[in-house]
């Protein structure tokens, strides 16, 4: 073997040995110390951890977490999210965490209930690219070729151990990964953004009812109809308070009063007064109607005034109202 070949062989063996040992040590350290290397696959923690950074996270109890820590947790869909803690609310043995990416203006849409979390204690820029490349199909192929070559270099062509060892290693690696015990993780550390639009809303200003329409028929015999005041309803928020006064507007004495329920347009409100006792013929009456708010029974605007007079109803001896003054 020439000197150059021997140096190359030694170099490749040392390289492979160191890389392989680093992998094994990181696996063992991960299990022994609860340490998880995290590859940041997006930039929502920029600039502290850019996309491609490798973070080293250590599992800690929820009670040890503080606002400002960068933690890695699983969201509702099972994906790993690594963001900074902006609020902690203790809940039983665990804590409800509100997280926000440094590059995000708004917190994550969900909160995370955790009993423990992986707190990032160290970040290595760009190192994640190496791990990402190594875990790609191409990277796996390169590793396979490299390890095959090294095993052949180390053990020689004749060894049946080489293919067996390769298969065993691959099976072991896939088994470790599939069982979920591998202390490595890719973390999405997703971005968030929000936008909002506001619109001012108002309801119409207060309104009052129109001047009531008065209808009545002061005919002969049975052909009579008492006064009927109608106006268009203003909606559910308005009620109507009325007063019937005996005398000449604006004086006289209050004869009766009452409140009418809300009516939605275009239906109409109807006010009738019924029998009045002691009408004594054609006395003057007048009706005042106020629009009121249902909410606080306060009057809106001025009342309307409708002039009325009393007159005999069919089959006397009582009286009721007819439209118009005496």
């Amino acid at each position: 073997m020439s000197g150059t070949k021997r140096v190359a062989r030694e170099a490749v063996l040392w390289l492979g040995g160191i890389l392989g040992a680093a992998c094994l040590v990181s696996l063992l350290a991960g299990w022994a110390l609860n340490v998880t290397p995290l590859v940041f696959s997006s930039g929502s923690m920029s600039p502290a951890y850019d996309a491609g950074a490798l973070g080293i996270a250590r599992q800690v109890d929820a009670a040890d977490l503080a606002v400002g820590d960068v933690v890695s947790v699983h969201d509702d869909s099972g994906a790993r999210v690594t963001h900074r803690v902006v609020a902690i609310h203790e809940q039983g043995d665990g804590a409800v965490l509100t997280l926000r990416g440094d590059a995000n203006d708004v917190a994550d849409p969900q909160t995370y209930l955790v009993e423990s979390a992986d707190r990032v204690v160290l970040g290595l820029p760009y190192a994640g690219y190496v791990l990402n490349a190594a875990a790609s199909p191409f990277g796996l192929g390169v590793a396979l070729v490299l390890v095959t070559g090294l095993l052949l270099l180390g053990f020689g062509r004749g060894q049946r151990l080489v293919p067996v060892g390769l298969v065993a290693t691959l099976v072991a690696g896939i088994g470790l990964g599939a069982s979920g015990v591998t202390p490595w993780a890719f973390t999405s550390a997703y971005w968030t953004d929000t936008a909002r639009a506001t619109v001012a809303a108002t309801t119409p200003a207060a309104v009052t009812h129109q001047q009531p329409t008065c209808t009545s028929k002061q005919g002969n015999g049975q052909d009579k109809e008492e006064a009927r005041l109608t106006w268009t309803g203003l909606g559910a928020q308005y009620e109507y308070y009325w007063e019937l006064w005996k005398g000449t507007s604006p004086g006289g004495t209050l004869y009766s009063s009452g409140t009418l329920n809300p009516v939605n347009p275009p239906s109409t409100v109807t006010l009738m007064f019924g029998i009045v006792s002691g009408g004594g013929g054609n006395d003057s009456y007048y009706a005042k109607v106020w629009t009121r708010l249902v909410s606080n029974h306060s009057n809106v605007g001025s009342p309307t005034t409708t002039l009325l007079h009393s007159g005999p109803r069919p089959n006397g001896p009582n009286w009721w109202m007819y439209c118009g003054g005496v």
């Binding site: 040992a21 696996l27 990277g139 809303a201 909606g235």
Partner: protein
């Protein structure tokens, strides 16, 4: 000459046995395959949303309204398209809100539609959201209904049914109604706020 002859013998004697010729290093290097295999499998099987070997994404996420481009934080103080003044009972008002993913980088986006409004007027308002709907006489028709029609506006919070790729837009028809028979004081006021929180999704 003598040194050259002795050297291989000393080398072999120093390592000796089965582990000579760099066999330790060769065995250790298998750890590389073990590690990468484990990481790749783990990424594919357990973190199913994230696939190792895909490009690591840098960029930024931007959800924009109307014709805005990468405004952050974005608040349209008084959205002119929707007029909610002088709302009488039984009134429907509708407008189209354009929601665009203006992210840099391959950032697929999911978002929610949230609405809120204070006071008695806000509590009375109803909201109907139709993605791709059109306005017909103050109401929204067609498209995909998001959530329930005529839902209570205050506290409305629905996920959009489909995600947005960069440069894509949704046209959301937003219909705000004040039901007939609402019992509100005249000149009641409220401020309706539509919020669109967006989240990056794995591409």
């Amino acid at each position: 000459m003598a040194r050259q002859e002795r050297h291989p013998a000393r080398h072999r004697a120093g390592r000796g046995g089965w582990f000579g010729h760099g066999r330790t290093r060769a065995l250790l290097s298998a750890g590389l395959l073990l590690g990468t295999g484990a990481v790749a499998t783990s990424a594919y099987w357990t973190d199913h949303d994230t696939v190792a070997g895909t490009p690591l994404r840098s960029g930024s996420l931007h959800i924009d309204l109307e014709s805005n481009v990468r405004v952050r934080p974005e608040t349209i103080g008084s959205w002119g398209d929707l007029s909610l003044g002088n709302l009488a009972n039984g009134t429907d008002r509708a407008a189209i809100m354009t929601v665009t993913n203006n992210s840099r980088g391959p950032a697929r986006m999911s978002y929610r539609v949230q609405a809120g409004a204070p006071n008695a007027l806000g509590a009375a308002l109803r909201l109907t959201v139709r993605r791709g709907g059109t306005i017909s006489g103050g109401t929204c028709t067609g498209g995909a209904l998001i959530g329930a029609a005529g839902a209570t506006l205050d506290g409305f919070d629905q996920a959009m049914d489909v995600t947005l790729m960069p440069t894509q837009s949704h046209h959301l028809c937003l219909q705000v109604s004040l039901p007939a028979g609402s019992n509100l004081a005249p000149s009641s006021t409220s401020t309706v706020t539509f919020t669109f929180p967006a989240k990056q999704e794995p591409s």
